[in-house]
């Protein structure tokens, strides 16, 4: 089959690799129809996540048709399903508590030592996301093996096209959980750092949950436009001092809840971010936490901090004083996707949630390497890329023409 493989920093390729096979009794094999490139795939592309091996197949946002089932899968051939990005067994202490992204049984015994050393306990398995989280082959491919297919995949009705349900796999529940972690109350203002897909879905979710006002922060115009379109007020951090602007907009009180939907590779030329970049180059820190700091300093006293943005290692100058003295509550974590699949699918069916507004590009899987480059370099035009396995690649001359145009 054809698959997108990782070979190093800024080096991903489409290659022919062997087809996956059923290995364990709960497995199924999926024929992928749509698969998206996630913001967190950029952390792999940029070489920020350790535990990658050359040849790893990427992709953790994917859906498709069941073509093979293991003896203990509860799925049937021909079913059309979406698959949560974390792999969960459904049986362990954490799964029973609905904390699916903390599953104890999905990271293979050989690969779980690394996160046990780094975080104290081993993390769950994730599709296409480094050997720290299991080294599972991902879904940016024609076929993918789905372990514990009796637990994760959700069958979706045929009248909803792929674009409407694909994001149930990650970014939609991730934005939803980010807003849920804000414990929104009547009259609340929620500030959101980062208007990428997760930030945008967090904005939409916060408004559905009854936030009085959402203020979105970014510097890409098209992304800020999308936030505005959803009903948020927007701040371009190049134009204003974000902390001052937020305080002024909220009558000097500050936002009641803040969401850091940026994560470890913050942009911007503030002093703290430049220091972080210097230190990251010398391996003194791994994570640049500029937006995290700004969120903690901006939130009102007694407020809530929600962190869906991905961090992996260590950071410097976390304002622990502000965190304690202001009496803040922080909620974080990889999304417990399984928990949200059904309720969010219902809302999509009822037309309460729009999942297609942010898609800027569809492309054939064959063009994935170019799409990674655009996703990295042209974040203003490329707000979400969906790869289709059955979309014909443009003819060679056409491709060349496109290159000339670029």
């Amino acid at each position: 089959m054809r698959a997108l493989t990782w070979h190093g920093r800024h080096d991903v390729r489409i290659e022919t690799v062997p087809d996956p096979e059923i290995v364990n009794p709960h497995d199924c094999i999926l024929k992928v129809t749509s698969t998206a490139i996630c913001g967190s795939d950029l952390h792999l592309y940029d070489g920020y996540i350790p535990g990658m091996r050359a040849g790893d197949i990427l992709g953790h946002e994917f859906m498709g048709e069941v073509v093979e089932v293991g003896p203990q899968s509860t799925l049937q051939k021909g079913q059309r399903v979406v698959v949560p990005f974390p792999i969960a067994c459904g049986e362990c202490f954490f799964c029973k508590k609905q904390q699916f992204s903390c599953c104890d049984n999905s990271n293979p015994p050989e690969t779980s030592d690394a996160t046990e050393t780094q975080y104290g306990y081993p993390m769950a398995g994730v599709f296409g996301y480094s050997h720290l989280t299991g080294g599972y082959a991902g879904g940016q491919a024609e076929y993918v093996r789905v372990p514990f297919s009796n637990v994760g995949p959700l069958a979706v009705p045929d009248h909803l096209e792929d674009d409407k349900v694909l994001f149930l796999t990650d970014i939609l529940p991730t934005g939803w959980m980010a807003a849920e972690n804000c414990d929104i109350e009547e009259g609340d203002t929620v500030a959101v750092w980062g208007c990428g897909p997760v930030g945008l879905f967090a904005i939409q979710s916060a408004l559905i949950m009854g936030a009085h006002r959402v203020i979105a922060i970014d510097h890409y115009k098209s992304r800020l436009d999308l936030a505005k379109q959803l009903g948020a007020d927007i701040l371009d951090y190049r134009e204003v001092d974000v902390r001052e602007a937020l305080a002024e907009m909220t009558g000097g009180i500050g936002p009641d809840a803040v969401i850091d939907a940026v994560g470890m590779e913050a942009h911007g030329i503030s002093i703290d971010n430049i220091l972080d970049q210097v230190k990251a180059m010398g391996f003194l820190v791994t994570d640049r936490i500029h937006s995290f700091r700004e969120a903690v300093l901006s939130v009102r006293k007694g407020g809530r901090v929600s962190v869906p943005g991905v961090y992996g290692g260590f950071a410097d100058k976390f304002p622990v004083g502000a965190f304690m003295e202001k009496g803040l509550t922080m909620k974080t974590g990889q999304t417990h996707v399984h928990r949200y699949l059904k309720p969010l699918l219902e809302q999509i069916e009822q037309g309460k949630i729009d999942t297609t507004f942010l898609i800027s590009h569809h492309a054939p899987l064959e063009q994935a390497p170019e799409m990674y480059k655009h996703w990295h370099d042209d974040q203003d035009q490329y707000t979400k890329i969906v790869l289709k396995t059955e979309m014909a690649a443009p003819a060679k001359e056409q491709q060349e023409k496109q290159h000339e145009l670029v």
Partner: protein
């Protein structure tokens, strides 16, 4: 502007240097304090298990390793699964085969570093259904080892605690242990991984594997670690 840039560059460098110096100094200070902290008067007050005590404390024991996991099954179920020693190869990575010799004795074939294997004959020394199983190697074995697994209630509704403790004579002393560790045959690592496998089998009926395709030249059904 140019001046500013040079200034910020050199001050970043200075900061970096100062930071490194402070970090090294702090580490040295903390290490010194920690070693001064360890008292060896033989009176240990911690309500902890023997296998977690630091070197130099009274309860530290060379060659003792232990590891506990929680499994969401009853004590009896877990006991029954462990009591059949011939199933060890299902979840013990380095146990190639276990032969039941009768009379509570069994012969184990174990993988050792560099493709070698060792054989040992063990005898069950303790057998309390739903509570504990203990075993000890017989003198004719290649290595001397002693193991015990106990099953206990963790907290209401939380399943069963399964604790494996192993006492062993490190093969050829410290160098042997270092070599074994390099090849991940170290009992501590093995106990950790084998208990993870046992837990997975008990809770889900399968052991998680990343066996699957990649752009590397390797078979699809072989896990890549």
């Amino acid at each position: 502007m140019a001046d500013n840039q040079t200034l910020s560059k050199s001050s970043s460098k200075a900061l970096l240097g100062a930071g490194l110096a402070v970090a090294a100094g702090t580490a040295a200070f903390l290490l010194a304090r920690r070693s001064a902290d360890v008292h060896d008067d033989g009176v240990d007050v911690s309500d902890a298990l023997d296998h977690v005590f630091r070197r130099k404390t009274g309860r530290y024991e060379e060659g003792l390793v232990g590891r506990t996991v929680t499994i969401g099954k009853s004590r009896q179920e877990i006991y029954r699964a462990w009591r059949d020693f011939t199933r060890f190869p299902d979840f013990m990575e380095n146990v190639e085969a276990v032969e039941d010799l009768g009379g509570r004795r069994s012969k184990w074939t174990i993988k050792a570093p560099l493709g070698a294997s060792v054989e040992l004959v063990t005898k069950i020394t303790e057998d309390r259904p739903g509570e504990a199983i203990g075993w000890k190697s017989e003198p004719e074995s290649d290595i001397q080892t002693e193991g015990r697994v106990e099953f206990f209630d963790i907290a209401p509704g939380r399943g069963t605690g399964v604790r494996l403790t192993l006492r062993y004579d490190p093969p050829a002393g410290l160098p042997g242990r270092v070599v074994a560790k390099l090849f991940q045959r170290e009992p501590n690592v093995q106990a950790r991984r084998d208990l993870r496998r046992f837990k997975m089998l008990m809770e889900t009926g399968e052991i998680a594997t990343n066996a699957g395709p990649s752009g590397r030249d390797e078979p699809v059904t072989e896990s890549t670690t």
